[in-house]
Symmetry: D2
């Protein structure tokens, strides 16, 4: 079985971080390989970065696209790892050219861009995966299946959160690259904290529950002096079924790393999950707390999740495998399209619809906050 | 040293719960004893309940007060353990008579009642303790001291919560006594979930931080069909220093027992505490998480907290000692008033001011929720 | 219902610790009270200590016993809280006089003394409770019931342990009272660590499992220079059914407080309990971890354990209530003896037989260690 | 930079498990690739397995070695993933041919084989890494550095353990492949539980502490009827500095997955680590518990560990990256040998010496157990 050939846009050079994370996720299953990339904005630097990784380099994504279209380069899909403002143009162009895309979140800078991407993908029904890494954690997938199959009844309330502390002081002033682009409206859009990690809390609240957000009341803060965008993001949401959700995120919680998680309370039971102990799921349906662990060998793992597990029982796969699972979903999708009957059914991971919803959510939250928490429709 | 003599109002009879809890808390330190009580509404039942406990019985609180005033009964203070609607009358009367009161929360049914109690206590500066049990946990007291002494800098954001599941279904229909009075507006006031456990989250947010709540935007829900009052309570609050607080509570989180706790994020560090593991406090001021344990022998325990500890190191005192600590505060106050120089300085536990603030908080939340989350001043 | 009247031997004076702990445990349920004591070795100091507690004072236990026998003092039972070497004489004398005894552990200094106490109690079948505090934790009682009723099948292996750090350095050199008597063979016997906390691990291994220890292979260490007795205690034991147990304790584990606990592995399942999170029990019988919480209201609590719970659900009772539960067992025993049909059935808490077994265990371990781990019968 | 080319011996076919795990670990860093393999015993099946993975296939390792020696195949190193009995022959042959080897543990079937492998590697000082996966966890490496640099003083006592439950019943009777070879003396050697997971506990006790085991007293059990080899393994060890270690493992702990970990108690502090929450290290040096997290960005991570981290802060890398770190050590070693000045210093991961020590440890334990726990020199 030939490995899938993957191209990358962005993600290279010193100070970048997530490009190499995707490279590892692409490589982990030994069934995909990164073969080409337009890894940086500066063409010379882009070529140098590609050379350093030992892949075919392009000075910009346009020339990489041209190479694909001219048949000089064969790619099964591309991964977009640029800062937020640079997702839309290449994603739209590759989709329009019929080339599948796995793109970092938040999907775009605006709702309009997001909807335009949907339009671009529609004619060819081109596969698109939105890289909400944590949705690749098998126990988060298991949680979604438990809700979908009615194990906790009708959802009444959701808490989802993401606490970080790395932007509690003016890190961007030091020139730190990750801080600099996230706090810059030109590169990150209308919301920093909301777009960067509030969207994770949003996905937990919606994707796991299977519910949409109907309207929000929000309070965004910029605690660190001089910061234009929010570094703290708080939303009370009304869900599509009338449930209430508390969706909040902050970047000023000193000492907190990636404290993302959710609790979902239904009429028959409750779920609780924490990204920092991602390999367990706490289910409460009666008097006894039930703790479920990751492990392909456990009979409770649904058939839809099992193909995404790599270790039989009780070892923690965690972060890279979670991201790799999104690439697995792309791979399974592509292999099945080509008639490979051995490819598992791809899981229902976030895609274009979730990307648009996320952009609408962030926009509504920003508007509501400006209107002192007025309830704002998505 | 003679034991302090304590009277009790309410709390007796089958199906009651917290009267005996206070009895234990009164007894635990072997320096106080419950000697008299008007334990139930029905006079005959009240006398029977007192007899069962081996204490002097009164048919109603009025006759117990009369006995004190006539010199027939000597009480150092009274404890009020009635349902919410029956706090005000006896508390006011005893305070007006100059007799100290330790009263269950929420303090009253209305803000007006609460303010009237303040007025009643003022002339004699009569000691009053509001029984927010969890504030008696030494690590919660320690947390308050850490904030007060600037260990985490200026407070920016607070999360405080209380998740329970016992009212996820229509328990009151079964006649269960605890459920019945809490869901009945006549006995519990304008808010069930907010008054009963939202006030715990409120106290965590305000008492520990030393901040007040300026205004709130709230969403209250009644999830269980047929219920008039809220069983779910969500508030975004603006604190007196401009900080933001998320204060929420629910009674429909199936399988959650007493998941109360807080996180406080300051400019220099963070605190995290959970009632269900009350004997530890998590402090984050840099890269390393610091975990503090209860224990009188630890040098980090402040002098203000040390007199409240009973065990030198590493054993958990937990629930009854926490409540006993509120009685300790009453005892220390009374002993010092009488010139006992060996009595420790009483800790700054919640009292009348916190009771009034709690009532204002609940009222504002109820109003805001009716006004679809409009920001409402306290 | 009149309160039971309790006397205390030892436990008073500055620097003592557990006397007041027992006083609290006696008081907690408001059904017993400490009324008399011979609290210290020096008669004048003993009288002063009793006066400070507001109880009737005796200069020595002999005169307190005489007062009981002459009818001047009425006691339902006595509690012995002296250092190890001073358990035997008063315990034996009170038992011989037909007065029930609740005695601290380890029961005596030697096996012979322990056996003599059994003989003294036999004629009148005088109630005796050995104060293994942790056996009063309801979840440890629950664990014993799960084993007894076959929920985890036949026991194959046990781990039980107790890690402390407070004697990691030469604390006794500072004159610290607790360290001084524990490291002194005259007052503590042939083993410090084994007798003081190894016996807790022994009780966990035997009392919970319902098994005896047949023979041991041991290695005891004295890590701190100058120390005569062990501060580290390690045993491999063969149980009465052929199971293997690892029973170990140490006092040199810096930073560990009271890390006592056990794991029991049977043919059908496993149990795990930790004293430092005493209110939960982890049960594993299949793929899903089951977590049980303390709480009188939970239907899984056996009828034999239920009378020992004080709070309906999800609040932690913890340390003082655990010790109070041993006093409850004494109280239930006495009340039933007197024909009180409302008194619950006393739980099968450690008594004389467990005390003798504990002394045999420590003796065998000391001998085995001297013989370089030779297997030694109990 | 060209990727290192890796060959694999064993690990293919249905029912195998760890071959694919190594394949992922080889691929994860995108700097190595699996290019060839003799993946199964049956030559035809071996070729088919290689084809399924898309690598160059060989019918047996001898022909793969011949291909390397004749220059037809270029390999930087080989990974051996066969059952225990099939480690020695290929490992010895490749080492003798000067080809580096990364080999699964336990290293061989006998001490003699292990020593012979040392002899084979000696002439060319051929690199060898023993695949003790857990030593690749950065927090375990950090622990080793803390001990080495004296942060916890002189080591006094060690606990290390590994509890599993998957062999609590007669799984091998079902033909399950993993159970079948581990319980078969022909394929697994003189010890099942000791060799398979006791060696993990051994490595934790020795490699982290920097100490050797001098002598052991052991008790091995075969709990499941019909089993020839041990499924339970208990050792009290005397370390090279006189410290005592409890080293134990079991396969009959129902519901336990991979509960491996250690506690190390020194004269200045203590360390605690659990494989099932591998990304944190608990350090106790005073009153406050210190919790350290994985994360390249934390200043406490030693320079020797930093090159092994892939994510800046607070995401969990866990299992595959841990194994990949052993491949990193091989890669760093090889690159530096070739003069690549950018390659980091390889960490001191287990190699031939640890492999020999592990075999001596298991042999001594088996002998001691047969001699009823007689102290046996390594």
């Amino acid at each position: 079985m030939a490995k899938l050939r993957v191209g990358m846009i962005g993600g290279g050079g010193p100070g970048s971080f997530f490009g190499m994370v995707h490279n590892r996720a692409i490589s982990l299953d030994a069934s995909r390989e990164l073969v080409a990339g337009a890894l940086r904005t500066d063409p010379a630097a882009a070529l140098a970065a590609a050379a350093a990784w030992g892949i075919e380099g392009y000075g910009d994504w346009q020339s990489m696209l041209a190479a694909v279209q001219s048949g000089k380069l064969c790619l099964d899909y591309v991964t977009i790892v640029t800062p937020n403002h640079a997702h839309y143009a290449p994603a739209r162009a590759f989709l329009a050219a019929g080339i599948p895309v796995l793109c970092e979140k938040p999907m775009t800078m605006t709702v309009e861009e997001a909807e335009d991407m949907v339009a671009a993908a529609a004619p060819g029904n081109v596969p698109f995966v939105l890289a909400h890494t944590y949705t690749g954690h098998p126990m988060m997938m298991f949680a979604k299946e438990l809700v979908r199959t009615g194990q906790i009844g009708e959802v009444r309330k959701i808490e989802s959160w993401y606490n970080q502390g790395w932007l509690a002081s003016d890190l961007e002033a030091s020139g730190q690259q990750q801080a600099a682009w996230r706090t810059d409206p030109q590169r990150t859009g209308i919301s920093n904290c909301g777009g960067d990690i509030g969207t994770h809390a949003f996905i937990a609240a919606t994707w796991v529950s299977g519910l949409g957000v109907a309207r929000v009341s929000a309070r965004l803060n910029s605690f660190v002096p001089g910061r234009v965008l929010d570094d703290d993001f708080n939303v009370i949401a009304e869900m599509s079924n009338g449930a209430t959700a508390l969706i909040h995120a902050t970047q000023i919680a000193i000492g907190y790393k990636n404290d993302n998680g959710f609790r979902i309370f239904g009429t028959k039971g409750s779920l609780e999950w924490h990204q920092e102990r991602a390999e367990k799921l706490l289910v409460r349906r009666g008097e006894v707390d039930e703790v479920y662990w990751i492990g392909a060998g456990f009979s409770y793992i649904p058939a839809s999740v099992k193909p995404y597990l790599r270790v039989p029982a009780g070892h923690h796969e965690d972060f890279f495998p979670a991201l790799a699972n999104l690439h697995q979903t792309m791979e399974f999708t592509l292999r099945r399209r080509r008639g490979d009957g051995t490819a598992p059914t791809p899981f229902d991971h976030p895609g274009l619809a979730e990307g648009v919803a996320g952009m609408r959510f962030v926009r509504a939250a920003v508007e509501s906050s400006k209107a002192r928490g007025a309830w704002t429709e998505l």
